[in-house]
């Protein structure tokens, strides 16, 4: 089975700044990849490159084998490459149901508006927003809006879903509920990429972790080894801390 998503030498330069530098990465179907890295590491830029929001200045993006480097965002969505937004982007005056219907109707390619509406209602109930279906999206609480975003992404029938800090701003009980939901999505065979800061979420869900630092990949492997990799520690906590961490680990070994 060829890779679902394949990045080769991907780069993005904004004038002088190189936000993403020479990233090569493949994602197999069914994987749950945690994409982590300190703030400003280029995580969201990378997502924007994959989904066509920004045009890559170097390298290629392949999805299901096809070269989609210069695809437009709506083409990515229709190909089953969906993403959620760090800052939730609803259609403010539309109801929650209509927001999700939009996903079902276009990327989800529902036969008709009515069919899309039915799909949407099912997804809303699934994420527990069935009651708020007819409320305008703008008055939903943050957790509800995050779940709305999830429901919309599901309605788009994605093959690969990029969850960009979907748990940001949630308290611990809300995170547990979100985790359960995400596990359910993965169980349905949707490949996931979690862009996250919360180690609890990343470690408990990811089958593999990729670390981005100053636009470049510095680690890629199972969660346990990556977390201990000195370069990752250094990226997050600074060089001095990294040495002490290594000495402490060697002294225990």
């Amino acid at each position: 089975m060829s890779a679902l998503l394949e990045l080769r030498g991907l780069g993005k330069r904004f004038g002088g700044i190189e936000a993403v530098r020479d990233v090569s990465l493949t994602v197999q179907p069914g994987e749950i990849v945690g994409l982590i890295g300190p703030n400003g590491a280029g995580k969201t830029t990378l997502v924007n490159l994959i989904t066509g929001v920004h045009r890559a200045t170097a390298g290629t993006v392949r999805f299901e084998g096809a070269d989609v480097t210069y695809q437009r965002p709506h083409e990515a969505a229709r190909r089953g490459l969906a993403r959620t937004f760090q800052v939730v982007q609803p259609f403010p005056q539309m109801t929650a149901l209509e927001n999700v219907t939009a996903g079902a109707l276009f990327a989800g390619a529902a036969g008709s508006v009515a069919a899309a509406r039915r799909d949407a209602l099912a997804q809303l109930e699934r994420v527990g927003l069935g009651a708020e279906a007819h409320k305008p999206a703008s008055i939903l609480t943050l957790p509800s809006r995050k779940r709305l975003e999830l429901a919309k992404s599901l309605a788009m029938k994605p093959k690969l879903l990029l969850l960009d800090e979907v748990n940001a701003g949630l308290n611990s009980s809300e995170i547990d509920a979100a985790l359960a939901l995400i596990r359910g999505i993965a169980a349905e065979g949707v490949t996931l990429v979690l862009i996250e800061h919360l180690m609890k979420v990343v470690l408990s869900l990811s089958t593999r972790i990729v670390v981005l630092h100053q636009g470049a990949l510095i680690a890629d492997g199972p969660p346990k080894t990556v977390v201990d990799d000195p370069r990752v520690v250094e990226a997050y906590l600074g060089a001095r801390f990294a040495q002490r961490h290594v000495q402490a680990r060697d002294s225990h070994a």
Partner: protein
């Protein structure tokens, strides 16, 4: 769409269609202008009401339709053929011009669309070889008594308005309408959920030109003479969006209601206040902005939920 929209529209069509049998030709002429402006308001609603792009290009397509229709009619084609040809020309022009102005948003789109009116007006007056320039262009004086001609053009304009209405209902209920509403509220998010925003905006812009083209061509056949400054009128290009605002933007009934109300208002106000009718219409527009933000339909909705 509200439950009572279709019956109200049916009544509106019936009343206009009945004017030749209940009133004199002057009443028929007013009804014809109501239908003419309803067609323009419905056209504007695709791009301004649904997609939320404040277009001031209406007069550009009405004028282009007048000239295209006149040239085709003068080349010997029957009038209805000329009107259809004019609609086609405007569709193509909208596609070409849309590729330029639709890349802009908000204020810049508004300014870009007004520029289209001025540019086409200048081209029409400069290209005198084809359009007669400032001297204007004559059209054949159609045979037929005043009553027949009055009815022909009432039903012509009403026909174009009904076509625009049917298209509006189809679009509003369908995928395109839903997509345009998403674009209006958050264009980036719309792109993200899989809406090909460029193509949808282009479709709305073309739809906003097609019926204007046909109405402009029908108007040219009716008046039998067109000239650049009247064909491409800035007053018309601002009055049409005001009509949709007055009725209620983004709805099916709004444009029809707004066009009817403003034409009748101009009739009654103009006849009464000779000296200050323009100031009074200005005051009506200002009042509309403050007291009727959702337009007449907004009023109806507020009453229902209050």
């Amino acid at each position: 769409m509200r439950a009572w929209t279709l019956p109200v529209l049916a009544a509106w069509i019936a009343v206009l269609a009945a004017t030749p049998f209940v009133g004199d030709n002057y009443l028929v002429k007013i009804a014809t202008f109501v239908a003419f402006y309803a067609a323009l308001a419905l056209s504007w609603n695709f791009i301004g009401g649904l997609a939320g792009y404040p277009s001031f290009a209406t007069a550009a397509f009405v004028g282009l339709g007048s000239y295209a229709g006149a040239l085709v009619q003068n080349a010997g084609a029957p009038i209805v053929v000329a009107w259809i040809a004019a609609a086609g020309v405007c569709a193509m022009a909208a596609a070409a011009l849309g590729a330029i102005v639709l890349r802009l948003r908000g204020h810049y789109f508004a300014i870009g669309s007004i520029a289209l009116v001025e540019i086409l007006s200048l081209v029409a007056s400069w290209w005198s070889g084809l359009t007669g320039g400032g001297e204007g262009l004559n059209l054949a004086f159609l045979p037929g008594g005043p009553d027949t001609i009055a009815r022909v053009f009432l039903y012509a304009m009403l026909g174009i308005a009904v076509l625009a209405l049917v298209t509006t209902v189809a679009v509003t209920r369908g995928r395109l309408g839903f997509g345009l509403r998403c674009i209006a509220q958050n264009e980036d998010a719309a792109e993200m959920v899989g809406i090909p925003t460029t193509r949808y905006k282009m479709a709305a812009f073309v739809l906003s030109a097609v019926f204007c083209g046909a109405a402009g061509a029908a108007y040219a056949s009716w008046v039998a003479y067109i000239a650049p400054s009247d064909a491409f009128s800035i007053l018309l290009t601002v009055k049409v969006p005001v009509m949709v605002l007055l009725g209620g933007a983004g709805t099916v009934l709004g444009p029809v209601l707004g066009a009817t109300a403003l034409v009748l208002l101009e009739e009654t106000v103009w006849a009464r206040f000779l000296e200050f009718h323009q100031a009074i219409l200005g005051a009506v527009i200002v009042a509309l902005i403050f007291f009727l933000p959702g337009g007449l339909l907004g009023l109806a909705a507020r009453r229902r939920t209050a």
